[in-house]
């Protein structure tokens, strides 16, 4: 895609998700999203760099639990797959999928959702930002 490297705003739960519509509608939505993503006013996030995020995700072996597109060998089945993460409505089924929520979640999951199995891996703020940036490239 032409927009590789840029990061688009996450889909908020209020938006209609593409897979909920019919074929044509889905296509139209996809196009809209594509345009939105590649438009000239992308909300460039200041929280991280997706390329660095890729390395963070590899370093912390997130792939041991998650299937993550673009990360070598990330095929874990313990946690949910992260393909299309940018279009997810929720994080861990309870948090809204917004950058600030994701950042907090990545830094300390149990603090956000008490019963989660995902441990706090000790990501720094910078690392969490980069990882989040990468995750938002997964459309």
């Amino acid at each position: 895609m032409g927009c590789a490297g840029s990061v688009t705003a996450p889909i908020t739960p209020t938006q209609t998700l593409p897979h909920q519509g019919g074929g044509l509608k889905r296509l139209a939505l996809a196009l809209v999203l594509l345009v939105a993503g590649c438009g000239d006013d992308p909300p460039v996030p200041d929280f991280g760099d997706p390329e660095r995020g890729r390395a963070v995700i590899a370093r912390y072996e997130c792939g041991a639990c998650h299937r993550i597109p673009g990360i070598t060998g990330a095929r874990g089945k313990v946690g949910p797959p992260l393909a299309g993460f940018a279009r997810r409505a929720m994080i861990a089924g309870t948090l809204p999928n917004r950058p600030e929520a994701l950042l907090a979640w990545l830094r300390d999951p149990p603090a956000q959702v008490k019963g989660t199995a995902m441990p706090a891996l000790g990501l720094s703020e910078q690392e969490a930002g980069d990882a989040a940036a990468y995750l938002y490239t997964l459309r």
Partner: protein, 837 residues
Amino acid sequence: MSRLPDPRPRPPEELEQLQEVWRQPGGWRLASAVNNTYVGVFYIGTALLFFVLAGILALLLRIQLAVPENDFLSQATYNQVFTMHGTMMMFLFAVPAVEAMGVYLLPNMQAARDLPFPRLSAYAFWAYAVGGLAFFCSLFFGLAPDGGWFMYPPLTSSEHSPGHNTDFWLLGIGFIEISAIAGAIEILVGVLRTRAPGMTLDKLPIYSWAMLVFAVMIVFGFPAVILGTALLEIERSFHWPFFIAEKGGDPLLWQHLFWFFGHPEVYIIFLPAAGFVSMILPTMCGTRLVAHRWVVLALVATGFIAFGVWVHHMFTTGLPKLSLSFFSAASMAVAVPSGIQVFAWIATIAKGRLRLTVPSLFVLGFLAIFTLGGLTGVMVAMVPFDGQTHDTFFVVAHFHYVLIGGMVFPLFAAFYYWAPTASRRALSERLGKWCFGLMFVGFNIAFFPQHVAGLMGMPRRVWTYPAELGWGWINMTSTVGAFILGLGALVFLIDLARNFRPFTGGNAGNVWNAGTLEWLPGGNYATRSIPIVTSLEPLWDQPDLAREVDEGRYYLPGAPTGRRETIVTSAIAAEPQYLMQMPGPGWPAVLAAWFTAAFFLLLTVKLVTPAMVCGVIALALVLRWMWDTDLGPAHPPVDIGGGIVLPVNCSGPMSHSWWAVVVLILVAGAVFASLLFSYFFLWTVSPDVWPAATGQALPGAEWPLAAAALLVLSSALVWWAGRRLEADGHWSVRLGLAAAAVALAAALAAELAGQRATGLSPTDSGYGAVVYMMAALQGLFVATLGIMALYTLARSLAGLLHRHRRATFDNTMLLWHYAVGQGLIALAVVHFGPRVL
């Protein structure tokens, strides 16, 4: 001999009769053909099929390795696929392919009408084709072997590989063992005894030399793996602990047996290919091979020294460094003959004027690739260097350079070179150049980087690797190269489909202006008449030879006895000795192969009763096929032309069947020697399970003495029966044979009873296992000779055995004396051994 070529006109009906006698069956009956020009082509085609299948497996492996941490193939699938790739390439492609080329080419090159045992060729081919395909299909059921192509126990023991997968490997190898030995006997006797008159060893084509060494190497090399696979299967099925360390076996015994075969195996594959090159280059350069005798010497020397390098596959097993160094030295020695050949070829190119045809290109590609493979071979022969590169991709690269460079490229050269002798059209030079270019470039892109991968620490047989080791780009390059190589092979298949037209009764003729006899015009019967050979390249030295041969002006221009026949010649001087009658198309050998295949397959999946039924049917079919052999002097002596009158068929030491039995005995002797080695090897590593340490009682001296006496008696009875046969004393012969069989069986029973009386069981320890294995091997001979005795009796009762028709008896007698000798040595070792060691 001076009266040839005979200028007189030939009788008009002669050619017609020759054609009629050698006519092939049409339609589906084609499968019953036994003639080398048919079976040879089937055989080569099947080998090529396995090359393609195993090549596809290789591409799957390369896709999996292209990027780090890939999951294109699962771990379990990858392990099966690499095992199958190696096993199929070595056992179902390489050995059969060179053997098949031999079956196809040798008779033509030596102007014989066929190899001496056409039905044996057919049997070997069908057993291989049916067994090989069944073996391949095990992949689709997840039953394919997954222990690597050299199947090291204890990974392949019943404890660590409880499934049928390993049994399928043993089955697949069983077939190749059968067909390789059968082929070796055929080729050895064929090269030595069915040559054109005058084709002395000096004038023997270099390819025949290569095949002679090839066959001898199979005779001495395969027995080690035959015994090894037998021991492993017996351990898996009956728990005789040959390789189980806790019970006094040793996993290293397998490695010795396997590599004693496995290293010569590489040369078994390479020498025939070197033979191709030494045939093709002189033609393409229009000149004789430089240093011809040195090239022959190199072939023979390689054949010997190849047996002294097996331990260099075991440099990292912890053997004493001094022991390793002996084999390091031997590995250096085996490189020397290859050097001679390479420079002889270069000198030949320089001497002549090389035409850059497709065969030439493949030969040049071979030279480049094989030279590098040889150089890395010297490197891995250095013990310290091997410690780092053994079992890495460096070694993978090395042996692909040696095997693809040393065997596949010459084989493709041979395909392009000799296709015109089998097909109405030659293969395409244009497509062939594409094929070569893609294969050469693809090969080097695929395999050169693997040296680097190995030097970066990548072990072989890994289904995945971590990204951070930095092996990704190398593997991706290699994968791209593999696909280019595959594309080259595909171009070849397209060329075959477009241009290869065999079995049409005609061929494209001597398109390269070659000098050797396979380029003589002819049909199924080979050449119309069989020339006197006076030089290495008769077609160059006698410009009219082709025409004269085709006009029937030389030996045996027709089929004087009304059957298929060929001239049997003496081994050195190639003087005509007798005329051998040969069988035509027939089903017994073909069906016997099918039932043999069914027997092994059913046994593998433990369907014992149906397996036994198939086994008995196969045996019956083999006996049925044998029944038509040993024809005796079925026809009065025949004038083959040139003033030579030859007897028809023959018994005794001059007969081709006697030579075949001698070769078979060499095989049996090598199996037995491997077993003796196993005995002493296990004693060396595990003296703690030997009677001296365990206090295990030994059978009293009366048992082995009784057994020995019975063995000697049995031999004496057979010898006496042979004397009586000379006087046509039929009842004495029958009684003598029957009594000898009883004595032979009784000797075995005495040995078993003696061992049983001490309470020793084969499952106790490595010692018990190897002691009973000696008896088991003897038991195999008792059973075989029992059947042969019954068969000889039956022939005697049917009136087919008498003074002048006694090859059946002679062959049985020969094997009998061997079995007695083997039994005596076994008794001495088993009973003296523990007392003195």
